[in-house]
Symmetry: C2
Subunit: 154 residues, 2 copies
DNA sequence: CCCATGTCAGGTCCACTGACATCA
DNA sequence: CTGATGTCAGTGGACCTGACATGG
């Protein structure tokens, strides 16, 4: 009841639209990954490790836009599942580099195909120029937001 | 360590960029709202109720892209805080329309100013045409994603 | 009967904060 | 000392599944 009624200026709010788009994408990815038993953050972590092997927990946290603590929990889960391995002692400093296991690579290739299919659907309505344009605009938004959050290392 | 190294094709992934943008916005809004004690979802709920008084829990859940259960918990919190009132009996059907209290309106006007300032910063890097363009592109993405998730009413 | 709604229960995952120790 | 890191503890939010009652 009263689902699509007046739409005040919610649709003119970029924040709301951003939330809506992100939500739609998250739901789609979540559903696509469900059969594999991976969550979206877990997939993201695996993908990051595949592309940049040896990232530390803090590195991964930054790249995934979460805190070290959150990423730590996530990493533990992946280690328990045998998808990720971490050195038990630090060569230098305290950073413990993480890497995918063989099982992790196998799991990822499947998940990666799935996710790419979702992304393909996401961009199916846009031609190449529009995709570039969207990237430019979003990047501009991020840059406009960034400076104000500095100095909070999180 | 190894924060900005090679950037494989993460920056070419619209999904990743979307996540990054959304995350930056969420952090900014979160920080801006912190002094008032409101969370972003709580603010969103208040804003929705101000613009469309009488929405039911299920209505709000749909509009905020969360489940009925999550919105139910959120609503209870707002009721406990005296910001929202709900009819105790349904006039028709089972839907219990919700409305802002006077305190809710007061709280919202403050929060609304705060959030609009953040949105202004978000769009500060874009001229009017670019904002329109961004809206068009994001909407196209949402539409491309939507149909596939139907039939899962959630 | 079918569907949407409101609600309760249990459990999981993720994210945050705060705090502490370690190491370059 | 400072800064980055890993980690423990606690909390809260949001999700899911399942279930049930009620009203159109």
């Amino acid at each position: 009841m009263s689902q699509e009624r007046d739409r005040v200026d919610l649709d003119t709010s970029l924040g709301y639209l951003l939330k809506k788009t992100h939500s739609a994408l998250r739901v789609a990815m979540d559903g696509a990954l469900r059969p594999s038993g991976l969550s979206v953050p877990q997939y993201a972590c695996l993908e990051l490790l595949a592309q940049r092997p040896g990232l530390s927990n803090a590195d991964l946290a930054r790249s995934a836009f979460v805190t070290r603590q959150s990423m730590n929990v996530l990493l533990r889960g992946l280690q328990r599942a045998g998808l990720v391995k971490r050195a038990s002692v630090a060569e230098t400093g305290r950073a413990l580099p993480a890497q995918l296991t063989a099982a992790g690579h196998r799991m990822l290739t499947d998940a990666s195909r799935t996710i790419h299919a979702v992304e393909a659907r996401l961009t199916s309505a846009l031609d190449h120029d529009q995709q570039t344009q969207l990237r430019v605009l979003l990047t501009a938004c991020v840059d406009a937001l960034q400076p104000a959050e500095t100095s909070t290392t999180r």
